[in-house]
């Protein structure tokens, strides 16, 4: 038994159990939560270089699973998000909530499918296997988005489908060209010829659509803002990260030798524009959930702004760690923010930022959760977001790159502006609105996630060490044992 298998098999088993349990599906999280957190902890403490082939079938045909730094950081964060979101959703997707019985049946299997798919995606090096995992995650994500708005869900579905097909087309080209789709083998075999470049282009384009990098972000704000709060949290925190992880696998492992600096700069430039555009749009929003959704558009930009900084760095391990820490802290903080926003909006029975007046007095814990998440998202110390942005800024200054450095500083300022606005409204007003008390679990879930995002700010060195476990050669330097066997 290895956590590499169990982290995928366990959520799938819980999906089956949830389907069989029917209305009682929500109870399963009481078992799934501890099991998945324990498996994630086991993954983190595995010795470096742990990898195995599924069913012992050798490459180039088999599928290699491994516990590298990306997996060791993202799997635990994902588990934390799922557990918190599930506890929050406990009351929302229950048979007692009146008309929502279909969702009491369908939300839980979808949650476990998404959980298993995310873990499978972080752990595999096989590009076709990654296609299957992104299908698992996208399918569950579309179903969750459609729970809020059918139109936004349908639009998201079509976009996700186009992205998947583009990615699959690239995988097919690579499979017939190199007779393998394993990223570690492609790193050795790939040559810069037409089929390879074509494959990289269509795969990257498909994944960028799914990851909603500016200017391909149009579907994200309506879908993420309309969904129920637990679904929004999963969509914004977890779902878009998988496309990003696959891009890391492609750009820094499989094709690290082929991709030109100009392409890195293009992606970095799109990231910079995403930060500026997303922040400005977030500032302009009147509705709270749209503000949080546009903040996702902006925060995704940082992940791609880092691409040229990693590729050009003297010591790439530092920006590599930065981008992973940013992914993790955004995951925790954004899930916390959507959950807290869900509570706040439900309490005032509105969706506008102006509706929040006086809420800090009526529900201090939820507003605190929102504020803690905002600190990490805006990159204020001490928080995971600060560690990530500091490392990125450090790398940009070291390389003498003015534009990324300026965008990092401006993005931080704009972030503070748009996140301060709902908070200032919540703290304003003399009269506290009368608010129904929420179940303790629902209040605790966003608070726990936001506190984790803050706590990451005190674990900088541990995170940097974890992120460098079995990092691809392009990141860890040329002297590196070949992963797997």
């Amino acid at each position: 038994m290895s956590p590499l298998d169990l982290l995928v098999a366990a959520p799938l088993a819980f999906m089956v159990a949830a389907l069989v349990a029917g209305q009682g599906g929500r109870w399963l999280i009481l078992a799934a939560g501890p099991v998945m957190l324990a498996l994630s902890a086991w993954l983190v403490v595995l010795p470096p270089g742990v990898a195995h082939l599924v069913g012992d079938w050798d490459l180039p045909l088999g599928i290699l699973l491994r516990a590298d730094g990306v997996a060791r950081l993202l799997v635990p964060a994902t588990s934390a998000c799922f557990v918190a979101v599930a506890l929050y959703a406990w009351h929302e997707f229950s048979p007692k909530a009146g008309a929502e019985t279909a969702r009491a049946h369908t939300f839980w299997p979808m949650l476990y499918l998404m959980w298993g798919g995310s873990n499978a995606g972080y752990l595999t090096t096989d590009l076709f296997n990654l296609y299957v995992t992104i299908e698992m995650v996208s399918l569950a994500a579309v179903a969750m988005a459609a729970m809020g708005s059918l139109a936004a869900g349908l639009q998201y579905f079509l976009i996700a489908l186009v992205g998947s097909l583009a990615y699959l087309l690239g995988v097919a080209l690579l499979a017939s060209h190199y007779d393998t789709v394993d990223a570690t083998l492609l790193a050795v075999r790939a040559r810069p010829d037409l089929p390879t470049l074509m494959a990289i282009t269509v795969m990257t384009a498909g994944l960028l659509v799914k990851t909603a990098l500016f200017p391909l972000h149009g579907w994200l704000p309506p879908a993420h803002a309309a969904a129920p709060a637990p679904a929004s949290a999963l969509l914004s925190a977890v779902v878009i990260k998988l496309g990003f992880v696959i891009l890391l696998r492609l750009w820094f492992e499989a094709f690290a030798e082929i991709i030109r600096p100009a392409a890195m700069d293009l992606l970095g430039g799109m990231g910079a524009l995403a930060i500026l555009y997303g922040s400005v749009q977030a500032i302009r929003q009147e509705r709270l959930k749209l503000l949080v959704a546009y903040s996702t558009v902006a925060q995704l930009g940082y992940l791609f702004l880092a691409f040229p900084l990693i590729a050009n760095a003297q010591n790439p391990a530092e920006p590599w760690a930065a981008v992973l820490v940013h992914a993790v802290s955004h995951m925790l903080a954004k899930a916390a923010m959507f959950l807290a926003a869900g509570l706040m909006l439900k309490a005032v029975a509105g969706d506008r930022i102006s509706d929040l007046a006086g809420l800090a007095r009526a529900m201090p814990l939820s507003v605190t959760a929102f504020a803690l998440a905002a600190i990490s998202l805006a990159g204020l110390p001490p928080s995971g977001g600060f560690t990530a942005k500091f490392l990125l800024l450090h790398a940009a200054i070291e390389q003498g790159r003015v534009v990324p450095a300026a965008v990092l500083v401006i993005g931080g300022l704009l972030g503070a502006v748009y996140l301060f606005r709902p908070l200032s409204v919540a703290f304003s007003g003399s009269a506290a609105p009368a608010v129904r008390a929420e179940a303790p679990l629902r209040v605790a879930a966003p608070l726990a996630l936001a506190s984790l995002a803050i706590a990451l700010g005190f674990a900088g060195m541990t995170l940097i060490e974890l992120s460098s476990v079995a990092a691809p050669p392009a990141v860890a330097g040329p002297v590196q044992a070949e992963p797997g066997r």
Binding site: V54, G55, E100, T106, V132, L194, M198
Partner: protein
């Protein structure tokens, strides 16, 4: 197959595709789309990809055709007009230019890949270890069983996703009856369905069994089974189950569950999804039979759609 036949096939595929795209009447377009799917299946056959041909004809032409017809009748029942306005000329030209450029690039890329398959010898070398003769089944159920396992959960998830679209008042009623409205048609479809369902059962069982050594397998068998269920449901020979029926739930999860359990049993004795020596064929056939049954039920219910209140259907 001769070059002439392949040329005629190509022309017919392009022709039916054009008709399906440009004809104004929706029903005609669907008919031509179904023909297009069948011709495409023939093309796969001509290239020796029998498994792909089976899937293309069953899913691409058959199930998709049924879905399109159902969509049309539901839109008509809602009083929606099924027509698209004329597109702007520059939009058409732009789309044509972009698609042509992309196709040219893609063709250049594909043609520059050296022909030959270095994986086939690898697969052939591994086949004796699992005791099967059909390399496609070997890849799907052994060498890359992990992909297939995850895909079986995707299919299950697709049905759950469709269910989550059920209007609040309709849950957990059965899907809109596929039963035909016209009494004469219902009569014909009913007798046909009663006759065909047992045939489909036998054929599905045969396809799964033969899949070990020749083209066939769980997916193909499941598709045939789903076709039998659908025809029987259209003729009123069988009813559709409620979504919260525990027996239905077990039927849906049986395939993925058995697959996962056998995979985990492998992990307990060695490696996840590894079959102990000598047991590979028995385990694979077991998985495939249960999986085919679950796939058949899932596909049929996917076509039937989300739970709906009686009387809102076509």
């Amino acid at each position: 197959m001769t070059a002439t036949f392949e040329l005629i096939l190509c022309v017919m595929i392009l022709g039916t595709a054009c008709v399906a795209l440009f004809v104004r009447d929706f029903l005609t377009a669907i008919a031509f789309f179904v023909v297009f799917g069948n011709l495409l299946g023939l093309a796969w056959l001509a290239m020796g990809a029998v498994n792909v041909a089976l899937a293309e004809i069953a899913i691409g032409a058959g199930v998709t055709g049924v879905l399109l017809v159902l969509t049309r009748s539901r839109l008509l029942a809602l009083g929606e007009e099924i027509a698209c306005g004329p597109a702007r000329p520059w939009l058409r030209l732009g789309a044509a230019a972009a698609c042509s450029a992309f196709t040219t690039l893609l063709a250049a890329a594909v043609l520059s890949i050296a022909p030959g398959d270095d994986l086939a010898p690898v697969v052939d070398g591994l086949m004796p270890r699992i005791g099967l003769d059909n390399p496609v089944t070997g890849v799907l159920m052994a060498f890359r069983a992990y992909d297939t396992l995850l895909e079986s959960f995707v299919l299950l998830g697709a049905l759950v996703a469709v269910w989550s679209l059920a209007p609040p008042a309709a849950w957990p009623q059965p899907p809109v009856a596929l039963r035909m409205a016209d009494p004469a048609a219902l009569n014909v479809a009913g007798s046909f369905g009663r006759l065909l369902l047992p045939v489909a059962l036998v054929m599905a069982a045969y396809l799964v069994w033969v899949g070990s050594d020749r083209p066939g397998g769980a997916f193909q068998g499941g598709t045939v089974l789903a076709g039998g269920f659908l025809l029987a449901a259209m003729g009123g020979a069988i009813g559709l189950p409620r979504s919260d029926d525990p027996r239905l739930r077990w039927a849906l999860v049986a395939g993925p569950l058995v697959f996962l359990a056998i995979g985990l049993a492998g992990a307990a004795t060695g490696r996840f999804l590894a079959y102990p020596d000598g047991t590979a064929k028995a385990l694979i056939v077991t998985i495939e039979y249960v999986l085919a049954f679950s796939i058949g039920v899932t596909l049929a219910l996917l076509v039937a759609g989300p739970p709906a209140r009686a009387g809102t259907g076509p």
